[in-house]
């Protein structure tokens, strides 16, 4: 319990962001037509690829001699960018089909 209070007091900003972003996420998604559920899930999936920023930071901070960290970071960047590029591209492809309707 003390740990939690300590964490909150030390990371007040993060705590605020955490709570507010949660509500933004909920509000933004609310009352979405079922037609868009799949593209939306796909788009959100691409967004979760933001974890690639962390993977890049790992590589930037790695010692060039530290092959394990570099290798793990490298794989993490590859996987992350697959998630990002693939995710956005596939969402775009899905939405392209919706556009064709008259």
């Amino acid at each position: 319990m003390n740990e939690l209070i300590e964490f909150i007091s030390e990371n007040l900003q993060i705590t605020y962001i955490l709570i507010l972003a949660t509500f933004v996420g909920i509000e933004v998604i609310k009352s979405i037509p079922a037609v868009l559920h799949t593209p939306l899930m796909s788009g959100a999936n691409a967004l979760s690829g933001v974890v690639i920023v962390g993977a890049i930071l790992v590589m930037l901070n790695a010692d060039p001699e530290d092959y394990i960290s570099l290798a793990l970071g490298f794989i993490a960047v590859v996987l992350g960018i697959i998630n990002v590029v693939g995710g956005f591209a596939v969402t775009n492809r899905m939405l392209q089909m919706f556009k064709k309707k008259k």
Partner: protein, 461 residues
């Protein structure tokens, strides 16, 4: 430089929120996707060039190489894959994101010392474990959806085993946090535990619940990204991850609601498999076979026809043929509509995406609540590869596992034609008394083949 990077992250964060918002409306969805993608590109470039000075060139080269390799792979998969394979693709991509988070955690685990703050240790551990769970879980979901993993595998007492397993992981993690241990071997042990749990978690869940699971795993990846964001005090990861996390939960709950199930019953309940034996023993009467030409005649002279597409349509790639059928009937003066159950197929909106691909007019796709009263006026309902979403047991068999799930009330129509490959039970693994209804005729065969015959019969009339 710091300020510039902060501004870039801020802009990227805003594009994520705006992008997600725009994705929620049919007219703006495409713009939303590009907006978010643009923001993501900005954040990635900013992270590479502005977050650290004096980085050896070799590292930049490696990053560029990794981006190139992954970018090309992602692009090719996204462009090449068939639209019917969409749900499993999302699951696969999601798994990659989870793996990325787990790997980051692995690297950071090596930097933990006894003097590390407990909160840091906790974020690293949860990053590894959650990332690993989403990775293996998504891969299992992917395998299940593309048919590689066919059966519902259930260990005896899997609920108890799974729950004990996750409690074990949490207890172990808590111990590590308190002890502040940074031994890399333990990191790999945590990774392995997370991977095993992901498999245990998804394996017993029936295919009918797979959309819910994918959505949930998607949400988890977001949370893993957010945790990594806390670790690096990186706002764009934090907000982006939380957005996906909370949006994913909302989507998951919406899907559960559409099936009248609670999240708990999806995760811990037993859907599919277990009830098959009971259903098979019941005598439900006889089924009546029909031919494409009989079905064609029936539809030709109908006034109102409602088509109910299901996963079988996607499997058979019959979306173009069904559009042809619909156009043909419309030309003949038949009033044709599509009834879209929210969880038809393997993902919410799966049928919409599929039918949009073959240029079906948007306005012909009618959602469940709007179409249900119209079944009374329908002369013919053509069910193509759908099963559980038209199973009357949801209304009248309290013992059925799908009892209470909202379904399409096709039995109210004057006549029902069901196209199915065989009498095998649907994904929920239960019998469907609709097939034995005296108003129902069965048109067995692959959806594409059967519909093609139907179309050519109609053309000759």
């Amino acid at each position: 430089m710091d300020i510039l990077l902060s501004i870039i992250y801020l802009v990227a964060t805003v594009t994520f929120i705006v992008g997600l918002k725009l994705l929620g409306h049919p007219e703006t969805a495409k713009k939303g996707n590009s907006t978010a993608a643009l923001g993501m590109g900005l954040a990635i470039l900013g992270a590479i060039f502005l977050s650290k000075e004096n980085v050896p060139n070799i590292i930049y080269i490696l990053i560029a190489l990794a981006l190139l390799i992954g970018g090309v792979i992602g692009w090719l998969i996204a462009i090449k894959v068939e639209m019917t394979k969409m749900p499993e693709l999302v699951s696969l991509f999601n798994g990659f994101g989870g793996a990325s988070a787990a790997l980051i955690g692995l690297v950071e685990f090596g930097n933990i010392t006894t003097s590390s703050e407990a909160t840091i240790v906790a974020t690293i551990i949860s990053g590894v474990v959650i990332g690993a769970i989403t990775f293996s879980g998504s891969l299992v979901a992917w395998g299940k959806l593309n048919g590689t993993l066919k059966s519902v595998v259930k260990l005896p007492q899997y609920n108890i085993i799974n729950n004990l397993f996750i409690i074990g992981i949490i207890a172990f993690s808590a111990y590590l946090v308190i002890a502040g241990i940074g031994n890399p071997v333990i990191a790999y042990a945590l990774l392995a535990l997370g991977l095993v749990y992901g498999v245990l978690f998804v394996l017993p869940i029936g295919g009918a619940d797979m959309p819910v699971v994918i959505s949930l795993l998607n949400s988890l990846t977001g949370i893993a990204a957010a945790i990594t964001g806390v670790l690096y005090d990186n706002k764009v990861m934090l907000v982006g991850g939380i957005l996906v996390g909370s949006a994913g939960i909302i989507l998951t709950v919406a899907m559960c609601k559409a099936m009248n199930r609670t999240l708990g019953s999806v995760i811990f309940g037993n859907f599919g498999g277990a009830v098959v034996a009971e259903g098979v023993n019941k005598t439900l009467g006889t089924i009546t076979n029909t031919t494409p030409s009989d079905s064609a005649i029936m539809m030709n002279y109908a006034t109102n026809v409602i088509i109910v597409p299901g996963y079988g349509l996607a499997v058979a790639q019959a979306q173009h043929v069904i559009h042809e059928l619909e156009e043909l009937l419309t030309k003949k003066g038949v009033n044709v509509k599509y009834a879209i159950h929210p969880v038809a197929g393997r993902m919410p909106g799966h049928m919409n995406v599929l039918l949009a691909e073959s240029n079906v007019d948007y306005s012909l796709l009618v959602e469940m609540d709007d179409i249900n009263p119209q079944f009374n006026n329908a002369d013919v309902v053509l069910v193509v590869g759908a099963n559980d979403v038209v199973n009357p047991a949801a209304h009248n068999d309290p013992a059925s596992p799908i009892f209470g799930m909202p379904i399409l009330d096709v039995e109210n129509a004057k006549h029902i034609i069901v196209n199915k490959r065989s009498m095998n039970a649907g994904y929920a693994g239960i019998e469907n008394e609709l097939f034995y209804n005296s108003k129902t005729t069965m048109l067995f065969g692959d959806a594409k083949a059967a519909l093609t015959e139907l179309v050519s019969e109609l053309k000759g009339m």
